[in-house]
């Protein structure tokens, strides 16, 4: 059951707080013994400030009312520190809570700083305190507060490093509050910074990208357009490279997104190559399924993999998201995946066959005969398939499909004129600018 669970590989790339939803999911699916998960949760919480929560878990884990001394001490410490930070940040916070005062702020950062300093005696120390306070709020689990403060902080902060970490914090907070739209905006902002910033070593940059991709999983599989965006992000050369180098397990998500997304066929072939290359580094039923269909043309194998895929999707915290509809819940992604996967198999199968027995086909598609027939008729009527059913012999007969030679030649040359035109235009532009100089 747990063999294909990626949580251990994903978790190190997430923020502590972001791991919680994953653990919750695992608890629900009961892949691991409850006790283990609760222990993991306590361990997570130990480094955060959510001491009360940790105490609750501890109680339920050991079924006692006693709480270890160090937790109690830690609680006191946290409260004390919270007080201290609150005080330090108080002037700025009160300023920000005053809507009239906030209106005085302008787009110009320097001006704002100057103004704050002159009129409210708020200097860099207080701004720094705001950051610390926000961070502390985040650690305590007060995500909305943290998000607000970090937003304000970013408006005032001049230190780019700090600003970056504030952005990470904001992203985490938005994800945890499940504000997918805002989170998506933050994600794009962060991505731009990561791509444009010059890092001390390329390794750091790769690492940042990997973090970003891991964090983005939350957004993409919850956001409405997430599945298109995930392809846009992951399939960029830089990000694909990062995946190949350090996080090949992310291929699962890209693969799923590509399968589910019908319009992205153009990128498919490249992706298949990537999967082939990374076979030794990462393998799971979803990538193996693709390999079966597109590399080995092993349709029986693909069949088996498809069944495994279903299991994997249900047990994946990102892919297996449930939608409650009335009394019963469905996993929309699973259904979509299976439908598309079936289509993939069938498509390829048809491409290399002239005549197919319906019975065999229904087997391969995991459908019964009637369903298969209906499914195929459906395809034929929506003109996705150029075939006829010979119901006497129980076979499907493909219409031979040979591209017209003239059409092919036209296709080949069609792009040429456009390209040449573009080239000439560019040359002319260049010449003009040079002449102007």
């Amino acid at each position: 059951m747990a063999t294909h669970d990626l949580t251990p590989r994903i978790a190190p790339n997430l923020d502590r707080h972001l791991v919680f939803p994953l653990l919750e999911f695992l608890q629900e699916r009961q892949l691991y013994p409850d006790e283990q998960i609760l222990k993991a949760k306590i361990e997570l919480l130990n480094k955060t400030n959510m001491v009360d929560y940790a105490m609750d878990i501890h109680k339920s884990l050991y079924r006692t009312e006693d709480v270890p001394q160090d937790m109690v001490e830690r609680r006191a410490e946290v409260v004390a520190r919270l007080k201290a930070l609150e005080e330090a940040a108080a002037p700025l916070v009160s300023f920000l809570q005053n809507p009239n005062a906030v209106q005085e702020l302008r787009a110009d950062k320097q001006y704002n700083l100057q103004m704050l300093n002159d009129r409210y005696q708020i200097g860099t120390d207080q701004i720094e305190a705001l950051y610390q306070y926000a961070k502390f709020q985040f650690e305590c689990g007060n995500y909305s507060g943290a998000a607000d403060y970090l937003y304000q902080y970013r408006a005032l902060c001049t230190n780019s490093e700090r600003s970056l970490s504030a952005l990470w914090g904001k992203l985490a907070a938005e994800i945890l509050m499940q504000n997918w739209d805002i989170a998506f905006e933050e994600l794009n902002r962060l991505k731009e910074i990561i791509d444009s910033k010059s890092y001390a070593s390329p390794l750091n940059q790769v690492q940042s990208r990997i973090w970003l991709m891991h964090w983005s999983l939350f957004i993409f599989f919850n956001h409405d357009n997430g599945r298109t965006h995930i392809i846009d992000l992951f399939n960029q050369d830089k990000y694909l490279n990062a995946i190949q180098t350090n996080a090949p397990h992310l291929l699962r998500y890209l693969a799923t997104a590509l399968i589910v997304n019908k319009r992205r066929r153009t990128q498919f072939k490249d992706f298949i190559k990537v999967i082939q290359q990374e076979q030794y580094a990462f393998k799971d039923p979803i990538t193996e399924f693709l390999a079966c269909v597109y590399v080995n043309y092993d349709f029986d194998g693909a069949q088996k993999k498809m069944r495994e895929c279903e299991e994997v999707i249900l047990n994946d915290p990102f892919l297996g998201k449930r939608v409650e509809e009335g009394s019963f819940s469905t996993v929309p992604l699973r259904d979509e995946f299976l439908e598309n996967a079936r289509l993939f198999i069938f498509e390829t199968y048809c491409r290399i066959h002239q005549r197919i027995d319906m019975g065999v086909l229904s087997d391969k598609l995991n459908l019964n005969y009637e369903e298969a027939e209906r499914w195929i008729v459906n395809l034929i009527t929506t003109s996705k398939l150029d075939a006829k059913i010979d119901s006497k012999s129980g076979t499907i007969v493909m219409e031979p499909n040979h591209p017209n030679v003239y059409q092919q030649i036209i296709d080949h040359t069609k792009a040429l004129s456009g390209r040449t035109y573009k080239l000439v235009n560019q040359l002319l532009e260049k010449a003009q600018t040079q002449a102007a100089r």
Partner: protein, 934 residues
Amino acid sequence: MSSRFWTAQGDSDTEEEESDYEDGVERGGAAGESAPHAGSRYLQTNASDSDDSDGQKRVVRSAKDKRFEEMSATVDQMKNAMKINDWVSLQESFDKINKQLEKVMRVTESDKVPTLYIKALVMLEDFLSQALANKDAKKKMSSSNAKALNSMKQKLKKNNKQYEDLINKYREHPESEEEGDEDEEMEEDEDSGSEFEEDPSKIAMRSDSEEDEEDEEDREDSAAEVGGGWEKKMSKKDKLMDKQFMKDPSEITWDTVNKKFKEIVAVRGRKGTGRIEQVEQLTFLTRVAKTPAQKLEILFSVVSAQFDVNPSLSGHMPINVWKKCVQNMLVILDILVQHSNILVDDVVEPEENETQKGADYKGTIRVWGNLVAFLERVDVEFFKSLQCIDPHTREYVERLRDEPLFLVLAQNVQDYLERVGDFKAAAKVALRRVELIYYKPQEVYDAMKNLAEQTEDTENGESEAGEEPRVEESRGPPAFVVTPEVVPRKPTFPENSRTLMDILVSLIYNHGDERTKARAMLCDIYHHAILDEFSTARDLLLMSHLQDNVQHMDISTQILFNRAMAQLGLCAFRVGLIAEGHGCLSELYSGGRVKELLAQGVSQSRYHEKTPEQERIERRRQMPYHMHINLELLEGVHLICAMLLEVPNMAANTHDAKRKVISKTFRRLLEVSERQTFTGPPENVRDHVMAATRALSKGDFQKAFDVIKSLDFWKLLRNREDVLEMLRAKIKEEALRTYLFTYSSSYNTLSLDQLTKMFDLSETLTHSIISKMMVMEELHASWDQPTRCIVFHDVEHTRLQALSFQLTDKLSILAENNERAYEAKIGGGGLDLPLRRRDGQDYAGAAAVGGKWQDNFSFSQGRQGSSGVRTGYGAGGRPFGPGSSAGTFSRDRGGQSRGTGGYSGGYQSTRSAVRGSQMDTSTRMVSLNRGVRA
């Protein structure tokens, strides 16, 4: 005068140091006369009864002696003149001595020039060159003096020409700069040798093979006169040393040792300094050194003196000296470990009396020296000796057994450096260790490990035998600073060669400089390849971007790169990745200079004569025999890979064979073999592969496999059975493909069962292969599922259609070239290609570049790449299809252009670049060596 000499002969020499000149003269005379039987004379003098044997010659001698006396007086004058740098009087003396020479020659009635004269000439020459070199002093000279100097230069040059041979001969035996003639020198040398035999430094001497035998003989003689005898025979310097050190050891002070040390070091490298002798003297000094620091300082000099023993760049250091050198290094480490307050440094010149601080001194003591440089030199010498020794002799094996010895040293040095915190240097040392290990498969590694453990046992025995001299030590001067063996003398190896490599390599990656890292990376790749970990090795190679940069590196690194590539190719083949294997190897074979590229022998080129200089340099780069990659295996694997790729490829494009060539080398060989009128049974590797090719192209996989199996290099593979099994499967697959390509036009349908039976393949595999061919549109056919048959479609293009397709292809290439040209000129704006490139590159060292894989490296270009090209050329037309965005377009181009440029095209350029750099870096090679030595 003469009688005094002869009577004195019997007594002790020591009192008459001042009379040395006369001695010299007379002896010189004797030498001039009785040179032919110098040997017997030697015995006679030893027996000290020479007086009567020469009895009747006395009369003659007195006349002769007079001449010699005059001559030596002149020499004396010359010396004085030299001391005060008086060239005018020197010139006079020179003229005088030439006149005297004539007289002497007349008197002795022989045509042999007296050695005294030659010696004077040598002395003059040396002094002259010294004076000329010293420009400052020259400027200060008075005008007359300078004039004399110049004329002297001319005269001497002219004069010396006559005696060139003799001078050279003399220079070859410049054992001492002492006065006295050659013969005496020889005696002294030998005697001082035997004296040292008596000495505690016996061990050091014993291995001095050149003198060993003579010593054996002499020992008996000298043993008889140990009492006063050896003291008498000692060279002046040794006597001096005795006076200072031997007679009263307790009075030796730091100062005297230091003075003596400075004295010895000062003459280092001068002409006329005995190299071996210097080593001995220094070794002697180490025993009398007063403080650990001083001992250390002297030991450093000993080691560098030992390096000096072999002056030439191509020859190697005598093995026994090498061993002693390693021992000395170990002692150095002992001292350093024991006295952690001593710092070794080669940057700061230490204070004058730094080493005076005793063992109990607490502060840091700086001593000049560079452990790493020494260690590297030791390694270089080891490497050179293996290069020089004939690999088919026992000597070579013996020499190889010394490897653990070096590894111990390297390990200890590395440990020490790490402890001191000098990780940079430690990385360098680690690299040396890596380079001794990387080429060893696990079996060889185990053997080495066992050997190291065994030698430990035997060495214990030896060290017991070595106790003796230590006992004797008490008789001679005791070593003042006793150094216990702190550093382990036994190497420790982890179980697994991979573990060891990992440890070393990670240290290097963290701390090494660029070259060290690159080399370590290559070794790492090589080692992974040996262990059949192809994907890891490949990723390392790609991540490091080594194949882009290797052209700019030094030649030995390039060789290492080639070796790694060869090994990677073999590895790919073993794990069944034919296309990748071919990609790695084809590059090596494209120029037909494999031997040269791998530094495994010198290849003769018909068109390009090498100068002797080039040849020498190339010889210096050779890999020792035990590191060689078997060339037959390599060639066999390369050709088999090429065969597996080319045969179906040729079958697929019968009508247009020229268009797509995967391996040019293979095609050429095939052409040659097809041109033969009669084909005999295969003899060499090529013949075998060609025979197999013929069988395979007919679809006869069994015969093809049998022919290839009969090659005898398969026994070199560890998992021979598996590899052959893999090969059999591959041959079957390719036979199937070839068969389908060739005969598909003759069939209308073909059943799956028949094919599986024909090619002895499993049903699923056959199905999968054929399906793939259908999808790739290599085969115009489709399955008829209910009857399990392949139905072939008749969609051959007409000639006109085929030609028009070719035309469109050409057009698109043209358009592409235009775009490229534009980009190259302008730097690209609208086409966002360069941008992508840059992005790819900013991963240097970090990212395995997915897309770059194809661009940079053609090994995935085999099947995969060709399919990309196929779509480009053939029916697919993916790049130009509707809806393909600019992004995918430029990406495809990477793959496609590779295809169009052809394997050879792309490669040829890089190859020639490599070749070019190989040519002109010959000088760099030399300077590199120098760098190591310094």
